[in-house]
C-alpha cells in the first residue's frame, strides 16, 4: 500500500531535482497551502450540511431535501449564493479594523487547522511544542472577535464581543489544563510523539480515571470556546441580534461562519488526537484479539482520524441542540468554580497515577 509519506517524498525529490531549491520550496508551500485550504472549505460545507440535517431531526423536521439527493448539495448552493451576495459597506465603522477582524478570526482557525495530523504522514508541520502551539494560536480568533465587535460601532456587537472575550479567556484555562494532564501522561508536547505513544492503547484507556475526567472537561471547555449553544452568549440571537458579526454581510459574514464551524472540527480533532489516539487504530491488548487488531489496522489512518473527529462533532451537535442557553453568571461560575478546580485536582491525580502505575 502506498502511504502519504511516500507520495510526499516522491513529489519532493521530483521538484528539487528539476528546479532550483527556492522555487521548489515555493511550489511546495503553495501546494500545501492550497491543499489545506481546499480541505478546510470542503469540511466546512460538510459540517454545515451535517448540522442542518441533525438540527432538523432534533426539531422533528426533515431538513434540506431539495438540492440533490437528500439535499446533499444544499450547502454548495448556499456557498454560491454567499459568494455572489453584495458586501454592504457601512458608514461610521473603523474600516481598517472592521476588515482586519474577519481575517484574524479565520487565520486563527486556519493556523490551528494546519497543525492537526490527519493521518500517518499527513501533517503539514510537526512542532516540538505542537499542543502548546495549538493552544496559543487559537487566541488569534479572540482578537478577531473583540475587534469585530468594537469596530462595527454597534451596541449589540460590542456586548457580544465583550461576552465572547470573557468566555474564551476563561474556558481556555480549563481546556489548557486538561490537555496538560494528558501531556503529563504522554511526556511530550510533540503531536506525533503523543500519537506514537498511543499505538498500543489510546490514552483514555491507559489511565482511565484521570483521562476520562480530563476528556469530559476538555469537551465542555472546548465546546464553550467555539461560541456555540448552550454557550452561545456572544451571539445570543434572542438578545443581541447576532452578536459580534451582526454588521457583516455576504462573504465577510461567511468568514466568521466558516471559522465557527471549523473551530468545532478543530476542537474535536484535538480531542481525538490527545485522548483517542489521533490516527492510531483501535488496538486490543490481548492474545485472542490479534486477528481483530489486524483488521482494524487495515482501515486507513485518515479514516480513523476523520471517524473519531466526526463522532465528537456529532456529540457537540447533540449538546448544542439539547440544552438551553446559560446566563453569563452561570457560565462564568461553571468555569471558575467547577471546571477549574476539578481540572487542577485532576492534574495532581494524573501525576499520582503516573507515579503509582
Amino acid at each position: 500500500m502506498i502511504t502519504f509519506g511516500e507520495i510526499i517524498n516522491n513529489v519532493h525529490t521530483a521538484l528539487t531535482g528539476a528546479l532550483p531549491e527556492w522555487l521548489a520550496a515555493t511550489i511546495e508551500y503553495i501546494i500545501i497551502g492550497a491543499g489545506l485550504l481546499g480541505l478546510y472549505c470542503v469540511l466546512a460545507l460538510i459540517l454545515i450540511l451535517l448540522e442542518r440535517k441533525i438540527c432538523a431531526r432534533f426539531q422533528c423536521r426533515i431538513g434540506p431535501n431539495r438540492v440533490g439527493p437528500f439535499g446533499i448539495f444544499q450547502s454548495v448552493a448556499d456557498m454560491i449564493k454567499i459568494l455572489l451576495k453584495e458586501i454592504i459597506t457601512i458608514n461610521n465603522v473603523d474600516n481598517i479594523l472592521f476588515k482586519t477582524a474577519l481575517f484574524l478570526a479565520i487565520a486563527g482557525s486556519f493556523c490551528t487547522f494546519g497543525a492537526l495530523q490527519f493521518g500517518d504522514g499527513l501533517a503539514c508541520v510537526d512542532f516540538n511544542v505542537g499542543v502548546f502551539y495549538i493552544l496559543a494560536i487559537s487566541s488569534l480568533g479572540v482578537v478577531g472577535i473583540l475587534l469585530a465587535g468594537w469596530s462595527s460601532n454597534n451596541k449589540y456587537t460590542l456586548i457580544g464581543a465583550m461576552r465572547s472575550g470573557a468566555q474564551l479567556i476563561s474556558y481556555e484555562l480549563s481546556a489548557g489544563i486538561s490537555i496538560m494532564t494528558m501531556v503529563l501522561l504522554a511526556g511530550s508536547l510533540n503531536i506525533s510523539e503523543i500519537i506514537a505513544g498511543q499505538e498500543k492503547a489510546w490514552f483514555i484507556f491507559q489511565a482511565p480515571i484521570p483521562a476520562l475526567i480530563a476528556f469530559v472537561i476538555y469537551l465542555i471547555a472546548g465546546h464553550a470556546e467555539t461560541n456555540r449553544g448552550p454557550f452561545d452568549l456572544p451571539e445570543a440571537e434572542s438578545e443581541l441580534t447576532a452578536g459580534y458579526h451582526t454588521e457583516y454581510s455576504g462573504i465577510q459574514f461567511g468568514f466568521f461562519y466558516l471559522a465557527e464551524y471549523l473551530n468545532m472540527f478543530i476542537i474535536a480533532g484535538v480531542a481525538a488526537t490527545v485522548f483517542l489516539g489521533g490516527w492510531q487504530p483501535l488496538q486490543i491488548n490481548a492474545e485472542w484479539a490479534t486477528g481483530i487488531n489486524e483488521i482494524l489496522a487495515y482501515i486507513p489512518t485518515w479514516l480513523w482520524f476523520m471517524g473519531k473527529t466526526f463522532a465528537l462533532v456529532l456529540l457537540s451537535l447533540w449538546v448544542r441542540w439539547s440544552f438551553p442557553r446559560l446566563r453569563i453568571d452561570q457560565l462564568l461560575k461553571l468555569e471558575w468554580k467547577v471546571l477549574m478546580p476539578i481540572s487542577l485536582v485532576n492534574l495532581l491525580l494524573m501525576a499520582g497515577w503516573i507515579l503509582i502505575f
Binding site: N128, A136, V143, W150
Partner: protein, 188 residues
Amino acid sequence: MENIMQYITAGNIIFFILAAATVLFGILTVTSTKILRAATYLFLTLFCIAGIYLQMAYDFLAAVQISVYAGGVVILIVFAIHMIKGLGEDKEINKGQRRIMGAAAAIVGFIVFSACIAAHFIQSGVEDAKLDMTANIETNINMQTVGTTLMGTDKFQYLLPFEASSILLLACIVGCIAIAQKSKEVKK
C-alpha cells in the same frame, strides 16, 4: 549575479518578509492616533516576531510569544480599551516634553541594539557573518531541557528567579482581588 542568487533561499525570503512586516507594524503602532488600532498593530508586530522565532527553530519561544504576548497581554489590553470612553476619537498624545523623552528613549535603544549587533559581527568576523539567516541553526531546544533548566538549582538553572516571579504574580493576583472587591461599607 551568481553571488546574489545563492542568497535567494526560501528561508531568506521569508525572513525579509517577516522583518519588513515587523518594522512596518511597529511604526504603525507608534504613529497610529487611534488607540485600538495601535493595539492591533502591536498584536501583529508581536505575531511577526513569533514568526521569526519559529524560523530560528525556537518553537517554544514562538509559542510562548504568541500565547503570552499576542494572546494574553494584547487581548487584555483590547479588553481594557473596550471600557474606555471616547474610544474612536483621534488623540494627540505626543506633545511637548513627551516628544523629547520618546526621541531620547528611541535613540538610546537604537544605540544599544546597534552596539549588540556590531559586537556580534566583530566577534564572529565579518567574513563569517552569513547572509543566510537560517544557516547556523541546529538548536531545537526541547521541552525537557526548558523544564529542568527552570526547576533546577545548579549553575545556569533558574529555580530562584522562577519562584521569585511566581511570588510576584501571586502578589499581583491578591492585589487585583483587593482592588476589584467592593468595600464593605458600600455593600451595606
